[in-house]
């Protein structure tokens, strides 16, 4: 084994991959949210559609989006590998456990939270990403240019209460996943210091509330608009 595979196959190396991909996905959430919030601009989707088209045609964004899919995949695969390894480290469970007295619920259930997010992700990608990329899209014309009308697809989806509920509930799961994952990633990278760790904790808590809440706001507002 080369030193790279040896390092990345150790428990610490696997955790490193989880932390690095996790932090990238956290960054991705911010960019994704910034784009999505344009759905709430009352111009019948003009800014959102133009933004989506610009992003889709930007070569840099296209490379990053391939990386993004790769990182999601690594995050999932290593989560599965680590979960299996961790399960096998305790073949016989305790009859009684008071784990709630020494750790948070989210920190002990990252795998379950992540699995729910994965199911959401599949629904989400099928409903929007796949439609935008390969589906037959309605078009809109702004200033003589033809654009794919993604706004229409989104607003139609969000007029369905079932869809809205799935989105809002999923964001709740995301919030709990982030509430542990954000600060945990820094700890795994070895960044733990009395000087800045309390700040990382606070930013993590703020991030885990604010970002999912803003994501959840979009389907709620668009549902109300559709009434």
């Amino acid at each position: 084994m080369s030193w790279v595979t040896k390092t990345l196959n150790s428990t610490l190396g696997r955790k490193l991959l989880m932390a690095l991909t996790g932090l990238f996905l956290i960054l991705f959430l911010v960019v994704h949210l910034a784009g999505n919030l344009q759905l709430l601009i009352p111009d019948n989707g003009e800014s959102f559609n133009i933004y989506a088209e610009t992003m889709a045609n930007n070569p840099f964004i296209r490379v990053v989006s391939i990386g993004n899919f790769a990182f999601i995949l690594i995050h999932i695969i290593y989560a599965a590998v680590l979960s299996r390894q961790n399960k096998s480290a305790r073949p016989v469970n305790y009859a009684t456990s008071k784990a709630s007295t020494n750790s948070t619920w989210s920190s002990r259930n990252m795998g379950i939270l992540g699995t729910v997010i994965l199911i959401f992700l599949i629904i989400h990608l099928r409903g929007f990403w796949y439609e935008f990329k390969f589906g037959e899209m309605p078009t809109a014309e702004y200033g003589g240019m033809i654009y794919k009308d993604g706004f229409k697809i989104v607003s139609e989806a969000y007029s369905n209460i079932l869809y809205v509920v799935i989105y809002v509930v999923s964001m709740g799961f995301l919030a709990f996943h982030l509430s542990h994952g954000f600060a945990s990633a820094f700890q795994t990278l070895g960044l733990n210091h009395a000087k800045y760790s309390p700040l990382i904790q606070k930013i993590g808590t703020g991030f885990s509330i604010l970002i999912p809440a803003l994501f959840a706001l979009i389907p709620i507002v668009m549902y109300i608009q559709s009434l």
């Binding site: 030193w3 390092t7 150790s10 428990t11 610490l12 190396g13 696997r14 955790k15 490193l16 680590l82 390894q85 961790n86 096998s88 480290a89 305790r90 073949p91 016989v92 469970n93 305790y94 009859a95 009684t96 456990s97 008071k98 784990a99 007295t101 020494n102 750790s103 948070t104 920190s107 002990r108 990252m110 542990h180 600060a183 945990s184 700890q187 795994t188 990278l189 070895g190 960044l191 733990n192 210091h193």
Partner: protein, 249 residues
């Protein structure tokens, strides 16, 4: 005090094992938990039954020999070693569940006794400093800042009891290994073998079958010596730095 003890009994490693309930009476609130176990064992011996096997040695909270998962927590409800736990932490009439540490790397030997020699092998892999023979060095010959000395000492207070492994949902030995890596990484004497130590001890930790870290913090919360999670972060830094800078290709 009158209590019901639900104790894990297992003949040997191959045996499946199971819980046996023992009613016990006349326990004083001032007894230590292990003294209460002694009372139980005296009763069992008088009846001609096999006494409950459990690990213990100094009974002063410094050797790390006692273990026991008591009512769902390693070393019981207080953040101490089991020998320093007293019966006043329990209430009259209570049922107390006593289990061995549960980890693949800590196989059950008998009843509540587990084999913790996996920890010894992690230490053997690199948790030492090489010392030259010769004259006794002068005191204070090597200057070490007080703050660093204190931090290294804090890490060195780990008694290797295994409560971190027992508490961790992944049966991970990261807190133990990180304390042992930290105590030497911070001191001048530990510098020569520093990178090698991180790589070898972590390789051994993985080979023993301990789980990975999810940063739940359960280990530090249950550690009778209060070893902190900063040690795990330091171990991660030591390991990743060693991986990219060591001469071993």
């Amino acid at each position: 005090m009158k209590l019901t003890l639900k104790v894990w009994r297992q003949k040997n490693n191959a045996d499946k094992g199971g819980f046996v309930s023992y009613p016990i009476d006349g326990i004083s609130k001032d007894m230590s938990f292990l003294e209460m176990m002694d009372v139980l064992n005296e009763q069992l011996t008088e009846k001609g039954e096999d006494p409950v096997h459990f690990d213990h040695d100094c009974r002063e909270g410094i050797c790390g020999m006692c273990s026991l998962h008591i009512n769902g927590k390693p070393h019981g409800p207080q953040q101490t070693t089991t020998c320093q736990l007293h019966m006043r932490s329990f209430s009259d009439g209570e049922t107390i569940t006593i289990e061995p540490w549960r980890a693949k790397a800590f196989p059950v030997v008998k009843d509540l006794v587990v084999d913790r020699s996996a920890f010894d092998r992690i230490i053997q892999a690199g948790g030492y400093v090489s010392v030259n023979t010769g004259g006794v060095p002068d005191a204070n010959e090597i200057p070490i800042p007080k703050k660093i000395a204190d931090e290294a000492f804090d890490a060195a207070t780990c008694i290797g009891c295994g409560a971190c492994v027992a508490a961790c949902k992944n049966a991970s030995a990261m807190l133990f290994t990180s304390a042992k890596i930290s105590q030497l990484a911070m001191l001048p004497q530990g510098q020569v073998e520093r990178k090698d130590r991180a790589e070898k001890m972590i390789a051994q930790m993985d080979a023993e079958g301990f789980g990975a870290c999810t940063n739940t913090g359960a280990c530090a919360a249950e550690c009778p010596k209060g070893i902190s999670l900063t040690n795990i972060a330091r171990m991660n830094r030591e390991y990743f730095t060693a991986a990219v800078t060591t001469e071993n290709v």
